[in-house]
Subunit: 210 residues, 2 copies
DNA sequence: TGTCAAGTGACAGTAACTCTCAAAAGAGAG
DNA sequence: CTCTCTTTTGAGAGTTACTGTCACTTGACA
């Protein structure tokens, strides 16, 4: 059982303020596309929304949309928390049981997401539940999260890179995280998400004795 | 630790022999498309192989290919084992711990697959490792396996349909199964797959203590 | 202010699907 | 065996996500 109180870690490791006009414009375009997409999807649904419409609404060309996001699904997803999670995991005491370390990481990450991007998280989860393509892409993107976390755990446990047990460990935790999100979304995103995650991890810690 | 010896269950619950010419032709077309696809992929790779080529090689029209398989990825995948697994799970003693029941089911299923479709399993796993789209579709198809197994477990444990712990349980096991397959494939499909699965389930049973 | 690099838009092309409709072919009755 | 009914097939037209190229524009920096 974790869920300790801590400085509510920033969602992004901020780049230093002095950012050229170019960079700033890029960020703006990026979020313009995102906003336009979320708006159109809310009105018409995911499939009915075409890249062309998104481009028009965001006042850029379709080419530009593809330059910013490799696939349509990626527009509604984020990997932003991956590096933060890796960092937090690294910051945990080395003798803490790995499952508890991950519990802390996930608790922090979800709380942070829910406080800073509450509505977006809900809408994204809804899409994950409703749209197979989005769900699939989300799962794939979890694979890269998995790789990242595996690397950190390998380094912390002194095991072989590509150690089977570590990979199984991470796969179980992330698989369970995915299912928890789906469950939460299917039930109207009303339950306490961090609490659900803790229950799921408790199940894992107890060896899945049903 | 399971892996008991048992009658090597048939891969498919055979439909009664008296099958009309129509049905037989459909099966033939289906496997013609499959074979053609595997052949072309072996020669040229997955992405380079188009539906049009597959159709030509299988001597059907592109329309027909789409009628038999909803997506290109589905051509190289199978859900055939799902109903068998559900049946085997149902046949286990009710007082057996669920994790052990699933261990038995997975052990049987993989052994059966490896003996009856050895080469195809290997090629499919290779595709799963190499081609993100195939991997994604495979993961999605595991979702429906999950639903099936969840239903059976719910009925065996007398829990609520859609019980959170049962869903977590199945998600963990299937997530771990997926990772085991990937690991196996990445390492040349040379290890003993059932043995790896047992190791993975041992990890789960031990509460993922690394 | 002028030069260079980075970002953008227009355009053409590919391939996976979807839909519709008419032709072909198996099933079953007489 | 043949006529009818139903299922399956192929042909064709259309949509959309995505790729690659190239000329143009617009920040960066001296």
């Amino acid at each position: 059982m974790a869920a300790t109180s801590h400085p509510p870690l920033a969602p992004l490791p901020e780049h230093q303020p002095p950012m050229g006009l170019r960079e700033r414009k890029k960020l703006k375009t990026r979020s313009a596309i995102r906003r336009a997409t979320y708006g159109l999807i809310a009105e018409q649904g995911y499939e009915a929304t075409t890249i062309e419409q998104i481009a028009e609404a965001a006042e850029v060309s379709p080419s530009t949309v593809f330059r910013y996001f490799p696939t349509k699904e990626d527009i509604v997803l984020t990997d932003d928390y991956d590096p933060v999670m890796a960092a937090v995991l690294r910051s945990r005491p080395v003798d803490e049981p790995p499952l508890e370390s991950l519990r802390f990481v996930l608790d922090q990450a979800t709380r942070s997401m829910m406080t800073t991007d509450h509505d977006e998280v809900i809408q994204r989860t809804r899409l994950m539940v409703d749209v197979p393509a989005v769900r699939a892409r989300m799962t794939e993107s979890m694979s890269s999260t998995a790789t990242l976390l595996t690397d950190v755990l390998v380094e912390r446990t002194g095991r072989d890179a590509d150690d089977f047990e570590v990979r199984i460990f991470v796969a179980a935790v992330l698989g369970v995280l995915r299912e928890t999100s789906l469950y939460w979304g299917e039930h109207g995103s009303q339950d306490d998400l961090p609490a659900l995650i803790h229950r799921a991890l408790d199940s894992l810690a107890a060896g899945l004795r049903l």
